[in-house]
C-alpha cells in the first residue's frame, strides 16, 4: 500500500513536470512574443520584462527556471494581470470554481445514482426505458446549449437568479445545475450498466440464497461493487468540475479558473497558462490516486500494483 502510494506520487510528479515542459514548448510557438505585440513600451522596460521572465536566456535555461518556480512553489507574476502572482490568481479563482464544481458533483450524484439504480432494478420496463432515455438526453445536451437556455429561462425570463456574474450568494445555482444535469446523465448510465452486471453475478445469488433481503442485497452487496466504474469516471470528472468547465464559466461569466485559463490562452499570458495547466494536472493526479485507493477498499479483488 505505501509502496503503491509512493510510486504513484512519483509518477504524478513526473506528470506535472511533463505538463510544465509541454505547456512551455507550446508557448515557445508564439509568434513574436506576448508583451511586444500589445502596446509600445520603452526598450528599458522591455529589457526588464525579458530579464524578469528570463526570456533573454537560452530556452533550456528558461525551462529550468520554470521547473525551479514550481519545485520551490515560488510562482512568477502574470504577464497580463500586472502585479498579481500566478498563485494569487489561482487562489482567487479556485474557490469560485470549486464551489460551482462541488455543488454540480453533488447534484449529479443525487440525480444520477438513484436514476441509474432504479432503471437497473426494473429491466425492460417503461420506467427503465424512460430513465435510460433521460440519461442519454442528459449526455447529449451540450453545456453550450443547456447553459444559455437555463440562463435564459431562470435568469432572464423568470428572474429567479442572476443570469450571469458572481455577486449574490445564490449565483452558484444555475451553473452548478447545468453541469450537474449533464454529469448526472453519465453517472446514471454507468450506474445502470454496472449494477445490472453486478446483479447477475454469483455472489448476489449467494446473498439471496442466504436469505438476505432485497434492500440489503442491492445496497450492501451489489451497489458497493457496482460503484467502481462510477468512481473511475468520477476521478477525472471531479478534477474537471472543480477546476471549472471552460464553457459554463464563459456562459455565466464566472471569475473561476476556467475563465482565467481561456483568457490566459487568448492574451498569450504564458506564466499564467503554465501555472493553471500545472494546477489542473496536479488535481487530476490527486483525484486519480484517491480513486485508486478507494477502489481497492471497495473491491478487495483489485490489488494495488506499484
Amino acid at each position: 500500500m505505501i509502496r503503491f502510494i509512493v510510486s504513484r506520487f512519483v509518477q504524478g510528479i513526473i506528470v506535472i513536470f511533463a505538463v510544465i515542459t509541454i505547456t512551455f514548448a507550446l508557448s515557445k510557438m508564439v509568434p513574436g512574443g506576448s508583451v511586444r505585440s500589445e502596446r509600445f513600451i520603452s526598450k528599458e522596460a522591455q529589457k526588464a520584462q525579458d530579464e524578469y521572465y528570463g526570456r533573454d536566456k537560452p530556452w533550456i535555461v528558461q525551462l529550468g527556471l520554470q521547473f525551479k518556480h514550481y519545485a520551490t512553489l515560488n510562482l512568477p507574476e502574470s504577464e497580463h494581470y500586472k502585479g498579481r502572482g500566478v498563485d494569487e490568481i489561482i487562489a482567487s479563482g479556485f474557490p469560485v470554481s470549486a464551489m460551482v464544481g462541488g455543488a454540480a458533483l453533488m447534484i449529479a450524484l443525487t440525480i444520477g445514482v438513484p436514476l441509474g439504480a432504479y432503471a437497473a432494478l426494473r429491466p425492460n420496463t417503461l420506467e427503465d426505458r424512460a430513465s435510460t432515455l433521460a440519461a442519454i438526453v442528459g449526455v447529449c445536451a451540450p453545456s453550450m446549449v443547456l447553459g444559455p437556455l437555463i440562463a435564459l429561462v431562470f435568469g432572464l425570463k423568470l428572474g429567479w437568479f442572476n443570469a450571469s456574474g458572481w455577486f449574490d450568494s445564490s449565483d452558484w445555482v444555475l451553473p452548478a445545475s447545468t453541469l450537474g444535469i449533464i454529469y448526472s446523465g453519465y453517472i446514471a448510465r454507468l450506474t445502470r450498466g454496472s449494477l445490472r452486471e453486478t446483479l447477475a453475478q454469483e455472489f448476489i445469488r449467494t446473498a439471496r440464497a442466504k436469505g438476505a433481503g432485497e434492500a440489503s442485497v442491492v445496497f450492501l452487496h451489489a451497489l458497493k461493487l457496482a460503484s467502481l466504474p462510477v468512481l473511475n469516471f468520477l476521478g477525472p470528472a471531479a478534477a474537471g468540475l472543480l477546476t471549472g468547465s471552460f464553457i459554463v464559466e464563459t456562459v455565466f461569466q464566472l471569475p473561476g479558473l476556467g475563465q482565467f485559463f481561456v483568457s490566459a490562452a487568448i492574451n498569450k499570458d504564458i506564466p499564467l497558462a503554465i501555472g493553471l495547466s500545472t494546477f489542473f494536472a496536479a488535481l487530476i493526479v490527486c483525484f486519480n490516486l484517491m480513486v485508486d485507493i478507494l477502489q481497492s477498499v471497495l473491491n478487495p479483488r483489485i490489488r494495488l500494483q506499484a
Binding site: S27, L152, A265
Partner: protein, 278 residues
C-alpha cells in the same frame, strides 16, 4: 456480420438514429446547394426575423438565412468530427498494435505512457495551441485527434494480445512473415470491428470538443460557421431572439443523440456479451 446488422436494426431506436443521420448528412451536403440563399449572404434590411415561408427557420441579426447556415455549419461540424476521429483512429490503432505485438518491456513502457497521458489536461493544451497558432482548420482536427486516441490504443492492444497467440498468427510467423506484414495482413482485418465501434463512440466526443472550441472563439472562424459558432452567436442574442440559439442547439443535440445511440447499438450488436447485460 449479417447477424450483427440484424441485431442492430432490431432496436427501433437504432434504426431511427441511422435514418436520421443519413438524412442529415444528405441535407447538410445538398441543402446549401438547393437553398436560394448563401450561408454568408447578408440582408441588413431584413435583420432578425421569425420563421416565415421565405426563411423556414428565420434569419439572424445580419439577415442571413438560418436554415442554410445550420446545414452549412452541420457539414463543417461533421467533417471536423470525422477527420479528427480518423486522426485518433490512426494514432490509436498504430500505437496499440505496436504495443500489443511487441510485448514485454516495450509493451509495459508504452502502456505506462498511456496511463500517464490519461492524467494530462489535454483540453488546456488544445485551447492554448488554438490560441497561439491561429485558428487553422487542419489544426483543429489534428489537435483534437491527438487528444482522443488513448482509449482506442488500449482497446486495440487488448485485441492484439488476444489475437497474437492464435494459430494463424503463429503460422504466419513460422512462414517468416515480418512484423509489419503481420500487422497489416493479419491483425488489422481482425481488429476492424472493435475499432469501428469505438470510433463511432469517439465521433460525438470530438464534435463536442470542436463545438466547445468554436464557442470559446478558438475554433472555426466567422463568417464560416460550425454548430459551435452558431450556438455562440445564438447565445449572444438569445434574450431578443431565442430561436437563434434553439434551432442550432436542437440540430446539434439530435445529432449527438443519434450518434450515441448508434455507437451503443453497434457495441451491443458486435459484442453479444454486453448485449446480455442490456
Amino acid at each position: 456480420m449479417r447477424a450483427a446488422w440484424s441485431r442492430l436494426m432490431q432496436q427501433r431506436m437504432n434504426a431511427w438514429a441511422l435514418k436520421f443521420l443519413l438524412v442529415l448528412i444528405f441535407l447538410c451536403y445538398a441543402g446549401p446547394q438547393l437553398s436560394p440563399y448563401d450561408q454568408s449572404q447578408q440582408d441588413l434590411e431584413l435583420k432578425a426575423t421569425n420563421p416565415s415561408p421565405a426563411h423556414w427557420l428565420g434569419t439572424d441579426p445580419l439577415g442571413r438565412d438560418m436554415l442554410t447556415r445550420i446545414l452549412h455549419g452541420g457539414r463543417v461540424s461533421l467533417e471536423v468530427g470525422l477527420l479528427a476521429t480518423a486522426v485518433a483512429v490512426i494514432i490509436g490503432v498504430l500505437y496499440g498494435m505496436i504495443s500489443g505485438l511487441a510485448g514485454g518491456r516495450t509493451d509495459a513502457a508504452m502502456m505506462r505512457i498511456v496511463d500517464i497521458l490519461y492524467a494530462f489536461p489535454f483540453v488546456n493544451f488544445v485551447i492554448l495551441l488554438m490560441a497561439i497558432r491561429g485558428r487553422e482548420f487542419w489544426l483543429i482536427f489534428v489537435a483534437i485527434g491527438a487528444v482522443e486516441w488513448l482509449t482506442m490504443a488500449r482497446v486495440v492492444r487488448g485485441q492484439v494480445l488476444a489475437l497474437k497467440n492464435l494459430e494463424f498468427v503463429i503460422a504466419a510467423r513460422a512462414c517468416g512473415a515480418g512484423f509489419w506484414h503481420i500487422v497489416w495482413r493479419h491483425l488489422l482485418p481482425n481488429v476492424t470491428g472493435p475499432v469501428i465501434i469505438y470510433a463511432s463512440l469517439t465521433v460525438p466526443g470530438v464534435m463536442l470538443l470542436e463545438a466547445a472550441l468554436s464557442f470559446l472563439g478558438l475554433g472555426i472562424q466567422p463568417p464560416d460557421a460550425s454548430w459551435g459558432v452558431l450556438i455562440q452567436d445564438g447565445a449572444h442574442s438569445m434574450e431578443s431572439y431565442p430561436w437563434l440559439l434553439i434551432y442550432p442547439g436542437l440540430f446539434f443535440s439530435a445529432t449527438l443523440l443519434a450518434l450515441n445511440l448508434l455507437g451503443d447499438g453497434l457495441r451491443d450488436a458486435f459484442d453479444p456479451k454486453s448485449m446480455s447485460q442490456q
